[in-house]
């Protein structure tokens, strides 16, 4: 079982849910060997079509929110996410292949900066809702570089020194 997990976090991102619900994207995912598609649709109003996987198609399921997003991420083989930094780093730390889809409807879209930067560093793939099927088609999971989690210790050390606390 190879599951694709789609997450929009706490946002409303119908464009992404619609995009993964299209036949082109589903076919592309099947071709890549994925068997299940689980969509966390958040506050969006577009309801994707549930399918049980007849005729060799994807098994599609969806829900709005869950307290166990981490479990879904852990069991996924591929994650398609909105550009929120929480979702991005949670996925990267689990070492899961990730496609970040940027929400172009947001006014102050500084979040695409992060996704672009991480895509340039080859930690993830980065795309738009309209071209999601092409992103999936052209992606090569072998080119991804695992993300090394950051470390807050240097920041804590500087704060300690600034306040006059001795180093431990």
């Amino acid at each position: 079982m190879k599951t694709v997990f789609v997450t929009v976090g706490t946002t409303c991102f119908d464009a992404l849910v619609k995009a993964v619900d299209t036949l082109e994207v589903k076919e592309e995912l099947s071709r890549k060997g994925y068997t299940h598609l689980t969509i966390q649709m958040g506050r969006g109003s577009y309801i994707p079509t549930k399918t049980a996987g007849e005729e060799g198609g994807l098994v599609v399921d969806y829900f709005t929110f869950s307290s166990s997003i981490a479990d879904y991420l852990k069991s996924a083989s591929l994650v398609i996410s909105h550009a929120g930094s929480g979702s991005i780093f949670e996925t990267l730390k689990l070492g899961k292949p990730l496609i970040v889809v940027v929400n172009e409807d947001l006014m102050d879209n500084h979040q695409c900066e992060l996704a672009e930067e991480l895509a340039e560093r080859k930690h993830l793939f980065y795309g738009r809702p309209q071209t999601l099927n092409q992103t999936i088609k052209s992606m090569d999971l072998g080119t991804l570089i695992p993300y090394m989690p950051g470390d807050a210790t240097p920041v804590a050390k500087i704060i300690n020194r600034f306040l006059g606390f001795p180093d431990i």
């Binding site: 672009e116 950051g150 704060i159």
Partner: protein, 284 residues
Amino acid sequence: MPFEILLSIVPRFNLKPSITHAHEGLLPWPSITIIDQIEQILVVRKLVLIMEKGNGCCFSIMTMPNLIFILITIFIIFIIRILLVIHQSKKPLHYSPPKSVSTLIVLGSGGHTAEMINLIRVLQRDRFTQRVYVAASTDNMSLQKAQVLEASMVDQAGLDKLKETAQFMQIYRSREVGQSYLTSIGTTLIALGHALLLMIKIRPQVILCNGPGTCFPLCLIAFLFKVIGIRWSSIFYVESIARVKRLSLSGLLLYKLHIADIIFVQWPHLQKKYPRTRYVGCLM
């Protein structure tokens, strides 16, 4: 004041108190009956003329320069004090540190909170205590996450001690997404008032924040406390990792206004763009 001057002069010239009508703009001439010497008349005339002209005007001519002088002096002292505070804030605290410092931690939404929790995890709990977590009143998730973190840290010592070391508070948000600008003036004032109340109550020695809009009013109030001398707090701001090319509005304000003692950024090229920030790796 001119009225008092006038009264003090009255006995000298043996004038009836009716001359005080001049104060109300009436000419005192017809009511003066006891003047029998021409010199006196001339002097009184002069006096009346001055009062006619002046009444208030002579008051302002006399005292305005003083008032302006006092205001300018206060202003200059205030500016010098602000510059001193800014200068002092850039330098590490040299005195031997107290055993612990009360710490205010400003939480934001989702990603912000995750970053902050990563930082709190590596800070020495015995040094940074008591910890007060503040989050927007519309955000329940962040305080929950902080509570989980605090509970996980005191597992050994017992949960009873939790109340002594950590507090959790909510703060009004100045503006919700999609709120109209007209109503947001009122809500901003309420939010500022609430922030002031919280800060008076907490008076933290250390403030840690990483980007939600709620942190700016709190930091500004903390800075004013430093200027006035209510409480010296060290303000540390960590710009969110989501900011790759430029600082967020909160970060930029704290940077430009020199309010934060240290601003950390999480990308090296961001540090190059804002030279007074520091880059020592990222939190995520």
